[in-house]
């Protein structure tokens, strides 16, 4: 056998090794190949060298099977990063701006962050509403209504084993059913995991509490720190997470007006006037001041369906003998 022939045979054998390792051989080819390396120690050595690299590649492949964006989200969800990462709605000041902007204005629908995760890259979508209300349909079909001064961040990737959204502010969720991929909301320090369908999450960064009120289905709520402790919220329940005390509480007959900002349906039953004013202010996104402290003894029982602010105020004014005046952006309520 001359050198040329030997070289050719060598190349041919290399191809065979690779086909064998790739599992591309027929049963009889395999048997022949195994016989060949068992009787020829030189070929066996050559095969072992390839096999070792092959195994290393397999290890590497196993390592890259992880969806690193999802893995990172999962970890990041357990850690309270300082506000630097949080979206720049510095609550109060933004709310003040909101008062001055009359028209509804969506300030940005933009992909913001690109992370390199090994061989893959993920874009986060970010939607912010400065003033007014905006409806958003997420890639999974979930319908989301975003209230003023709120921001969400989500990924369009559908390969993740769960759906994750970050919320800063308030939103009403009508989650598309997908039992294989839980829908998880990261709301500041609280975490909301959805088992059912419709609910409201109020998580403004300046507020001391995160409030979740369920209108249908089941929702699991947990603190990010102790995710094993969770409460299950059913229809009508409100879950409240107190940031300072890190406490989770369930209120059975929860906030009836939780989604009034979206529906403009208001129900008050023997409700103290201070609470009524707070709810109306939030619903219509205005600033209301109770001038006479003596008024706080009053309670009100009344309901409104899709009324304008003026109409609501008129009813209050006439039934309780109040004096209501608008002073610029502020509404002042005083006794007659």
């Amino acid at each position: 056998m001359n050198v040329m022939e030997k070289e050719e045979l060598h190349i041919e054998f290399n191809d065979q090794i690779v086909r064998y390792l790739s599992d591309e051989m027929t049963v009889s080819e395999k048997e022949q190949f195994e016989h060949l390396i068992n009787v020829d120690s030189e070929k066996l050595a050559q095969f072992s060298a390839y096999k070792k690299i092959w195994d290393g590649v397999d290890h590497l492949a196993a390592r890259s099977k992880y969806d690193m964006d999802g893995e990172w989200n999962m970890l990041a969800d357990k850690i309270d990063f300082e506000p630097d990462e949080r979206i720049n709605t510095s609550g109060r000041s933004l709310r003040m701006i909101v008062l001055r902007v009359a028209a509804a204005l969506v300030i940005g629908v933009l992909g913001v962050a690109g992370w390199y995760g090994g061989r893959q890259m993920l874009m986060y979508e970010r939607v912010a509403v400065e003033s007014g209300i905006k409806e958003i349909v997420l890639p999974d079909g979930t319908l989301l209504t975003l209230n003023s001064g709120s921001t969400i961040k989500y990924t369009k990737r559908e390969s993740l084993s769960y759906r994750m959204i970050k919320l800063n502010g308030e939103a009403y969720f009508e989650v598309a059913r997908d039992t294989t991929r839980p829908f998880i909301i990261d709301a500041g320090l609280a975490r909301v995991e959805v088992l059912g369908t419709k609910f409201n999450v109020r998580a403004y960064p300046e507020s001391k509490v995160v409030e979740v009120t369920v209108s249908s289905g089941l929702v699991a709520m947990a603190s990010k720190r102790e995710s094993d402790h969770q409460i299950l919220l059913a229809k009508g329940n409100t879950g409240i997470y107190t940031r300072e005390k890190k406490e989770l509480n369930l209120i059975k007959s929860g906030n009836a007006n939780a989604i009034a900002w979206k529906t403009r349906e208001l129900v008050f039953t023997d409700t103290p006037i201070e609470e009524v004013i707070r709810v109306i202010a939030h619903t219509y996104n205005v600033d209301i001041v109770l001038v006479d402290p003596g008024l706080s003894e009053f309670t009100i029982t009344v309901s409104f369906t899709n009324q304008e602010l003026e109409a609501v105020l008129n009813v209050l004014e006439s039934t309780l003998d109040l004096k209501i005046e608008k002073n610029g952006n502020q509404i002042r309520i005083d006794s007659e």
Binding site: V18, L21, D55, V57, L60, A61, R63, L75
Partner: protein, 186 residues
């Protein structure tokens, strides 16, 4: 074996460098944790706890030391703790694999896989594409041929070429791999 290059972080760990650390080491730490705790979720919990602990201690952390060995050692210790705790509540014999696994060799294995990764990234474009489709996406030769609109023979040739290059560039590492094989890491 000395490490080829060590990951150094200038100054204290911030969120950015923390994320980088996580992305770099998570898969290898998972593989390592799974040697002790075969259940994926158990392993993930251990690895997560190590990173949470690192984040909480980030200000007192001396970043001039090897973070890599810190991470591997922490995963090792925590995994052993989990096994120990489970033994307490179980009459079953839990196999004592802990003593057979060595942190250093695990770190070396990761080193080697990083080397392989670099060689793959340096392969000629077509060659790399075929090789990755086969090894990382698990496609059969016929599927690759169809997807890339090339002949079966070309797929075979590219695969052989990839392996040949890998073998040449990793010649000095093969000794190490033999040693790893003997340690039952495959």
């Amino acid at each position: 074996m000395t490490t080829e290059k060590e990951l150094h972080i200038a100054g204290p760990i911030d969120k950015g460098s923390f994320e980088l650390l996580f992305r770099k080491f998570f898969p290898a730490l998972m593989a390592f944790a799974k040697k002790f705790l075969p259940d994926e979720d158990d392993a993930r919990e251990v690895v997560h706890n190590v990173f949470i602990n690192l984040w909480e201690k980030r200000e007192s952390m001396d970043t001039s030391t090897s973070l890599k060995s810190y991470l591997f050692k922490s995963v090792h210790n925590r995994s052993l703790n989990v096994i120990r705790d489970r033994k307490k509540f179980s009459s079953e014999e839990v196999p004592d694999i802990a003593s057979e696994i060595d942190v250093e060799s695990q770190m070396d294995a990761m080193e080697l896989e990083d080397r392989i990764n670099k060689v793959i990234e340096g392969l000629p474009e077509k060659c790399r594409e075929v090789f990755e489709m086969s090894r990382f996406e698990g496609l059969k030769y016929t599927e690759i041929a169809e997807k890339l609109n090339i002949s079966l023979k070309t797929v075979e040739n590219q695969m052989s070429k990839a392996l040949k290059i890998l073998r040449e560039k990793l010649a000095d590492y093969l000794v190490l791999v033999v040693w790893l094989l003997w340690n039952g890491l495959n």
